[in-house]
Each structure stands twice: as C-alpha cells, then as structure tokens.
C-alpha cells in the first residue's frame, strides 16, 4: 500500500477546500441557516409537531443530509474531474498507485469534508432550534456511511463526465429532487397512500429516515432497513468503480 500517495492526494484535495473556503464551507452554512430561519423559525412556528417533535427540530436531520449528499457528490466528482480536464491526470496514471489508493485519497477527502460540513451545520442548527440526539454514535455512523457512499457516487460521476455540464447535472437534477422528496421537510406518513408507496423507491428516504431515527428515535422505515440500503448503495458504487478501473473505461485507453 502506497500510504504516501494516499496522503498526498488526500491533502491536495483538502487544500483545495481550504483555498475555496467561502464556496466550500461558508455557502452551505449560509444556505442551511436560511432554511432554518424560513422553515424552522418562521413557518415552523405555525406547524404542528410531527411525532411529538417540533417542526424546526424535525427538519434538522434532513437539512444536514441535504448538504452532506450534495457536497459529497459534487466534491468527489469535481476532485477527479479537474485533473481529467486540466490534463494533470497523467501524473496519477503514471504513479505507482492502485485504484484503491486513488479512491481512498479522493473519496476519503470528499467524505471528510462532507462530514465536517454536516457537523458544522449541526452546530449551526443549535443556534436556531432546540434538539437533542438520542443515539449519537448511530448518528455519526449514518453520517459517515452516507458521506462515503455519495463520495463514491460522485467519484463515478467525475470519471464518467465529459463536460462541466454533465458534472453539474447529476447533483442538480437527481440528488436535490430526491432529497427534497425524500422526507427532508416532512414525514412520509403525511403523504397520500399512493405516494407513500412510490416514495419508497427513493433511496434517500431510507437515509433521512435512519438519520432522523438516530436523533429522535422515530423513523418512517425500519432502521435496519435504512442501514442495509446505505450499505447496498455503497457496495454498488464500489462495484462500478472496480469495473471502471478494471476495464480502464474512460480513464485509460
């Protein structure tokens, strides 16, 4: 294992975050704060409690997930797309590194950053609403697993993308709608029966439900099922990445 290489890629990627501090950290924190003000404080005060949880507190896990999903996907995809775009990928390809090390570096950095952001937003939320976390370890587990899974997913997008437009389109057109419709702002049980069934095809429902369970002990779907879904998604992403590196598809000719 080439640990120096993993470290080099990891630090390079984190340095990129540091260079773009405003865009990387300040802007997600600002937009989440706006959500808390609008949905949590302004509208939330007029909403009835869901499962005994005030609306402002109810949306905290969903908002954190919204950021973690978007940020891990876009960071990981951007991280591997940039070298492809600028041509610096030659160095990675000619280096004595295996696919595993490349992934640990890029995905590790993107996931770390998403986790850090999730925690920052958690802290920010404390300023707007009162909430407690019943299962902090499970909360961290869900956070870490989700960040890793979607960083893997982002890595795949970055490898396959041929343009900046393609790079943006998945987070924008897929991740954001799935998160909004995945129960960030409502409980599945609030939907009409037909939509309750349809919504179960949305993988994000399981992530948010499981994550919210770790906060308040209530969930839309069984927690074990949530965990299984994250692990399934993560394994599928790893499978696709193995295939990409095995065949060299879009990476090497």
């Amino acid at each position: 294992m080439n640990f120096y290489a993993i470290k080099a890629i990891y630090l390079f990627e984190l340095a990129r975050t540091w260079r773009t501090l405003m865009q990387s950290i300040a802007s997600p924190v600002l937009s989440t704060s706006l959500y808390f003000i609008v949905f949590g404080s302004a509208i939330g005060s007029r909403m009835v409690a869901i499962d005994g949880i005030s609306y402002g507190a109810f949306i905290v896990p969903g908002l954190i997930m919204l950021t973690v999903l978007t940020e891990s996907t876009s960071n990981a995809s951007f991280g591997i797309y940039m070298p492809k775009f600028s041509g610096t990928i030659y160095e990675i390809l000619s280096a004595p590194v295996s696919a595993v090390e490349i992934i640990l570096g890029y995905v590790g950095a993107a996931a770390s950053k998403a986790i850090l952001l999730g925690l920052i937003i958690l802290l920010t939320a404390q300023f707007f609403v009162d909430f407690s976390i019943i299962h902090p370890l499970w909360m961290l587990t869900f956070l870490v697993l989700t960040a890793i899974s979607f960083s893997l997913f982002g890595f795949i997008i970055g490898v396959l993308a041929n343009s900046f437009e393609q790079l943006q389109i998945v987070p924008l057109m897929v991740i954001t709608p799935l998160t909004f419709l995945g129960g960030s702002f409502y409980s599945i049980s609030m939907l009409p029966p037909l939509w309750q069934q349809i919504t179960l095809f949305n993988p994000v429902v399981y992530l948010i439900s499981g994550f919210r369970w770790s906060f308040y002990g209530v969930a839309d779907v069984n927690v074990g099922f949530s965990l299984a879904m994250i692990l399934l998604f993560m394994t599928s992403c790893i499978g696709v990445i193995c295939w990409i590196f095995h065949t060299g598809y879009k990476v090497k000719i």
């Binding site: 120096y4 290489a5 070298p83 600028s86 610096t88 160095e91 090497k252």
Partner: protein
C-alpha cells in the same frame, strides 16, 4: 544487465482503429541519453505513455529494470519520472506544494532538503511559494521537470521538453539534463529540434508510422547515412553543367557561381579526384573549395521522406 528498458514486440491499436505502434523492439541502455525522433503522429508519445503507464499496452511487453510494467507496476513506475508534452499542472497550487505532492504520489517520504536542492538547480527556489498560474510558460515547464524528478527516478522521460521554450532556458535545460545523465539517470527524450538530439543524444531512434525504423549510435548513424557535399567556387559562372560531367549529377547554385557535388562519405574518395581532373581538363577553374557534412536533420528528412 545492460538495458534499463526493454520493449519487446510492442503494438498498440487505439479503439478508433488507429494503429499507433507496430511491433516495436527497443532496448535503452542504462545511463544513456536516447533521443526519439519522428514526425507528428508517428507514435513517440504513445510509446512513452505506454512505458509510463498512461496508456495500456496492446500486444507485447515492456520491462523497466527487469520489472514488467503491468505485473510489477509499482516498482517499475517508482523508477520513472515523466515530463509531459503539455503544460499540465494544477495552476492554483504553489510550486512547493505541487512538487511535494508528486514526491508523495510516487511513494517517497517527505524530504525538504532534496526538494530545496532540486528547486535551486532549476532556478525555482525563489518561486517556491508562488502559485503556478503566476509563472511564465518556461517556468511552468521547469515545474514539470521538478515534479518528474521529485521522487528521484532513475529514468527520466522528456516528451518535447523544449517546445515553446526560449533559447536561454533551453540551454539551461540541456545543461541540467547533462548533469542528470552524469549522476546516472537514463534519459529518453523526444524533440522537434534535431540539432539538439544531434548535440545531446548518445543514441537516436527514428520512429515513423508506428514503426521504429532505425536505432543507432548518433555518430555511426551520421557516418552511415551522412552525405557530404563538395562546393566549388567558380572563377567564371557557368551557364549550365557541361554534358561531359553528367555522371556526377552535379548541381549549380542559384547564381551559377558554385558547383555542388554530393557524395557518400563512406567511399568514393576516388571520384572527387577524377572530378577535379575532369574539371581541369574542361578548363573550368575554381577559386575555392569547401566540403560540408549533412546534419542529422538532413538524415532524418531523408529517412522520413523516403516513406512518403
């Protein structure tokens, strides 16, 4: 074991169907400077890219220091540094960061003293904290060289290193390359500037349409293929070449004041004497005579032109 790189029967066909390399056989000797010459699209970059691991080999094998580049890619690639043709370097980073990154990527622990010396040798030390986007093209080229050398490779590939580099920097770079060779590094380069290959290389390979048409010591190559020219400055310009001299295939210069005789450097010394005697008997007088050897460029154009 003499050769540091062994290329055996290497072929590469791109998915588009373009056959970039055909059955290339090449041995690079340890410690030499090897120049790979060829027109654009001949397969120079493909060959380098395969050895460095950027392009998958088709058929055939490549051994670096006896290590297979596919099976034992880790050990093989640690020995190699590559300076690419394009100025591909992440522009938001500082010089120091990007060089440290390269060293780590190739599996070496940090060594600030070595990197400092490297940057000093490349006149980059005072730029170490500058972002790469603020550097000139020539400076960026040096940064790429520093990156390629950051992990102390035994073999250095330079793909068109002096393209777009001014004369002074080019001279600096060649000096640095000579120093590297003196320290035991094997250097493989491709270049447009044939006089550089002529000046620098120990051996030269010519690649054309994916085939290595020739590999030879530079000196013996120039002897073997070198043409010499005899230039005779005439006292009175000739309107045309006398028919009696037709067998020599002489040429007249544009102003008719010079006779040019092209001959093979290997033999035919005798023909010069007969030519001179014959000129004498025809009453053609000359005030000066001069011989000139063909350069590598002439040889190269001769080789590549033959195919066209």
């Amino acid at each position: 074991m003499q050769s540091v790189i062994q290329v055996n029967n290497l072929s590469k066909t791109y998915p588009s169907g373009f056959q970039a390399l055909q059955h290339v056989e090449l041995d690079i000797r340890r410690g030499e400077i090897f120049a790979l010459l060829g027109p654009n699209g001949a397969g120079k970059t493909t060959l380098i890219s395969i050895i460095c691991g950027i392009v998958n080999p088709g058929e055939g094998t490549v051994l670096v220091d006896g290590l297979d580049i596919v099976q034992q890619y880790r050990q093989a690639r640690q020995r190699i540094g590559l300076v690419p043709q394009e100025l591909s370097v992440s522009i938001f980073e500082t010089v120091w960061d990007t060089v440290s990154f390269s060293r780590g990527l190739f599996g070496k622990p940090a060594d600030p003293a070595y990197l400092q010396q490297l940057l000093r040798d490349l006149s980059l030390w005072d730029k170490k904290d500058s972002k790469i986007m603020t550097l000139s093209g020539g400076m960026k080229r040096r940064v790429l060289i520093a990156k390629a050398l950051a992990h102390q490779p035994q073999i250095l590939f330079l793909d068109e290193p002096t393209a777009g580099v001014d004369v002074e920097l080019r001279r600096d770079m060649w000096q640095m390359i000579r120093r590297l060779r003196d320290s035991g590094v094997t250097i493989i380069l491709t270049t447009h500037y044939i006089e550089e290959a002529e000046d620098m290389a120990d051996r030269i390979g010519v690649i054309r349409a994916g085939q290595l048409v020739l590999v030879d010591d530079k000196t013996s190559l120039m002897q073997k293929l070198g043409k010499k020219q005899l230039l005779l400055q005439l006292v009175t310009p000739l309107a045309q070449i006398p028919p009696a001299l037709a067998s020599y295939q002489l040429q007249l210069s544009a102003d008719n004041s010079q006779l040019i005789y092209t001959y093979d450097a290997q033999q035919e010394q005798a023909t010069i004497a007969t030519l001179l005697r014959q000129l004498n008997s025809l009453g053609i007088e000359f005030s000066d005579l001069n011989t000139r050897e063909s350069s590598l460029e002439d040889i190269f154009i001769g080789l590549v032109g033959d195919a066209a």
